[in-house]
């Protein structure tokens, strides 16, 4: 079956990419201007301590030996030590990942659903009032800084109206009797950030969805469907949607990577304890080990997400399997 080939081919490619990312990551942080030791530890250290650390971390050895050591450490799961938190980077990141994933996935679901509905209506009533308003809305969302939208929503709904909490993923001092009240608390905190990212990311996806649907509408078989006497609703929801599944799946899977960037700024605005906020803190504190480790993990995740997307797409489109 072709699927095995697809997985193997994309898998090898993904591994190669990860390897390249690791190389880039390593050299990025070594080649940059600045004291390599200061990067590993706090910038404010004395000269003797610096020399000791230099030898300890092997920074006086040639570059390729350092690189091999780096790879060894990575394979052992050692992504470095954060000096602000005084804990291994890998632990810090893994703790935060669920929060980021929760935020990203829930908001993405909203983005996808809204984009498809709006795109469908806009394409069907092409040139009409709804199409124009939705398109302008989409272009507007595409142009607005998401973190600013988040700030405004936070200001209005949480600060002024007091309807939602302003910080974090759950209320720290609240004791929860059961899992449901905890989930409700999290959902309460999740709502505004999720809506921010969910609506803010509509722009691009809506426009692409609309274009794909317009392509489908202009196909001959849609005219056949009309000549068959099928009602508009049937044509739209039975025929067009089936035809759109393939291009829409492509769009949905491929755009997954773009939303990661928005997570960093949104988590900062809402003080949402995810990987994005971790990166922000790392930047503010000049905690380079944390920054390097977190960045590497993010890029590896992006490669893996891409790999997953390509495998799913290979499953959906039979033509890919027989390439």
């Amino acid at each position: 079956m072709g699927m095995g080939r697809v997985v193997a081919k994309r898998g090898v490619y993904a591994i190669m990419l990860i390897f390249i990312m690791t190389i880039i990551n390593f050299f990025l942080f070594r080649i940059m201007p600045g004291d390599p030791v200061a990067m590993m530890v706090s910038p404010s250290i004395t000269a003797e301590v610096r020399q000791i650390l230099l030898t300890k971390f092997g920074l006086d050895k040639p570059m390729h030996i350092q690189f091999i050591k780096y790879i060894q450490q990575l394979l052992q799961g050692n992504f470095g030590l954060s000096f602000t938190y005084q804990r291994p980077v890998i632990n810090l990141v893994l703790e935060r990942v669920p929060n980021t994933v929760l935020l990203l996935l829930s908001s993405y679901v909203i983005t996808v659903i809204l984009s498809i509905i709006l795109g469908l209506i806009a394409a069907w009533r092409r040139g009409g009032k709804l199409d124009i308003s939705f398109t302008i809305f989409g272009l507007w969302m595409h142009s607005m800084p998401i973190f600013w939208l988040g700030g405004l929503l936070l200001l209005f709904f949480s600060v002024r109206l007091g309807l939602f909490p302003v910080i974090g993923v759950s209320t720290p001092w609240l004791k929860h009797e059961n899992i449901f009240s905890y989930m409700a608390d999290v959902a309460h905190h999740l709502f505004i950030p999720m809506m921010t990212l969910g609506i803010g990311n509509i722009g691009g996806m809506f426009l692409i969805t609309r274009n794909s649907l317009l392509d489908i509408f202009s196909e001959d078989y849609i005219m056949t469907a009309k000549a068959l006497g099928l009602s508009n609703r049937t044509i739209l929801f039975h025929n067009v949607l089936r035809n759109a599944m393939l291009p829409l799946s492509t769009i949905i899977l491929m755009r997954l990577g773009f939303i990661i960037g928005g997570a960093v700024t949104t988590e900062t605005v809402f003080t949402w304890p995810g990987v994005g906020l971790l990166i922000y803190n790392a930047v503010m504190q000049e905690d380079y080990p944390l920054l390097q480790g977190a960045f590497l993990i993010i890029t590896i995740s992006a490669v893996l997400a891409n790999f997953l997307a390509e495998v799913i797409y290979g499953y959906l489109d039979p033509r890919v399997r027989y390439e």
Binding site: R126, G127, E219, D220, Y221, M223, T224, A225, K226, A227, L228, G229, L230, S231, T234, N239, R242, N243, M245
Partner: protein, 318 residues
């Protein structure tokens, strides 16, 4: 009472370059049992006429005036619901140009036809599927193939499927728009023979739109010649082929090769089809007409009935 009576139809398109007068005062009648060939060069308005009858025009098209009576009902004035449920498929259906893409690639062909049947007839899904199988036999396809997808059929077979689809609710009139143009000659002959047989068996009326006169000669008992959005001559096919009166028709027929006749060279009609945004004044054919007179560039010719059933639109007929 004619089955289809088109009176003074005008369909214009608004485009960036101006208003395209694609169908400009077209009148036609079809009696029950007729097969009318609608012939003309590409872009002369044949397909637009068909789409107007079917009410499938794109959004930038507008029917300015005219009436299209099918079974005494003006199709241009009835509401969407009636059109969809009563007229489409049950009275009127269409076989489209380029059937290659007319079938939806993600559905089985049988399902597509069945969906049309179920929209118009109150029968069970199984009964509808039986009808699909019968239709396949009728058009010469193995009924078991109804479960297959469009990409599994060849061009000729797909065309048969489309014909089966058009017949599925026993319509009175079928409009076939260039049904065999994209097929090779042998398949063409097969499909045309099929259409002839079906016409006889089912008593179908048909409009056959094509630029290929040989197709018309093969299947139609009446012919209408269209030029630049207007009908220039209309008569029985025999009359058109043997005694064409309009200069344009004469030009077309003159270039129609005869297997049994003598060898002769092509005498192409000089010039090229006019721009339909600003067509020539008076008779639209006058710039290319070898017999053009002064009045031809000033006044549009009236339609004259030379003999019973033979209509010509030319100043020479006075």
């Amino acid at each position: 009472m004619p089955l289809l009576d088109i009176q003074n139809l005008r369909t214009y398109f608004s485009t960036r370059g101006g208003t395209v007068k694609a169908v400009d005062d077209v009148s036609l009648q079809i009696e029950r049992g007729d097969a009318l060939g609608l012939a003309g060069e590409s872009g002369c308005g044949k397909t637009t006429t068909a789409l107007t009858i079917m009410n499938l025009l794109p959004s930038n098209a507008e029917v300015l005036s005219g009436k299209v009576f099918l079974n005494d009902v003006d199709l241009l004035t009835i509401d969407e619901e009636t059109l969809r449920k009563e007229v489409r498929m049950k009275q009127l259906s269409m076989v489209f140009q380029g059937a290659m893409n007319a079938l939806n690639p993600v559905f089985r062909v049988g399902d597509q036809i069945r969906q049309g049947i179920l929209t118009h007839e109150d029968i069970t899904k199984e009964a509808a599927w039986e009808r699909v199988r019968e239709l396949f036999s009728l058009v010469g396809i193995n009924p078991d193939r109804a479960r297959e997808y469009p990409h599994e059929f060849s061009g000729g077979m797909k065309q048969r499927v489309i014909i089966a689809m058009a017949l599925s609710c026993n319509p009175d009139l079928i409009i076939a728009d260039e049904p065999v143009t994209a097929l090779d000659v042998i398949i063409q002959a097969q499909i045309l023979e099929l259409m002839r047989d079906l016409r006889e068996k089912l008593g179908l009326s048909m409009i056959m739109i094509t630029h290929d006169l040989s197709v018309i000669a093969d299947t139609c008992n009446k012919t209408a010649i269209m030029y630049a959005g207007k009908i220039v001559e209309r008569a029985s096919s025999i009359t058109i082929f043997k005694k064409p009166k309009h200069p344009y028709t004469q030009g077309l027929i003159a270039n129609f090769p005869s297997v049994s006749g003598e060898l002769k060279g092509f005498e192409p009609i000089s010039g090229s089809p006019p721009n339909l945004i600003s067509p020539p004044n008076g008779c639209r054919f006058h710039p290319r007409c070898p017999y053009a007179m002064g009045v031809c560039s000033k006044e549009e010719p009236e339609t004259v009935e030379l003999e019973r059933g033979h209509f010509v639109s030319c100043h020479l007929m006075k």
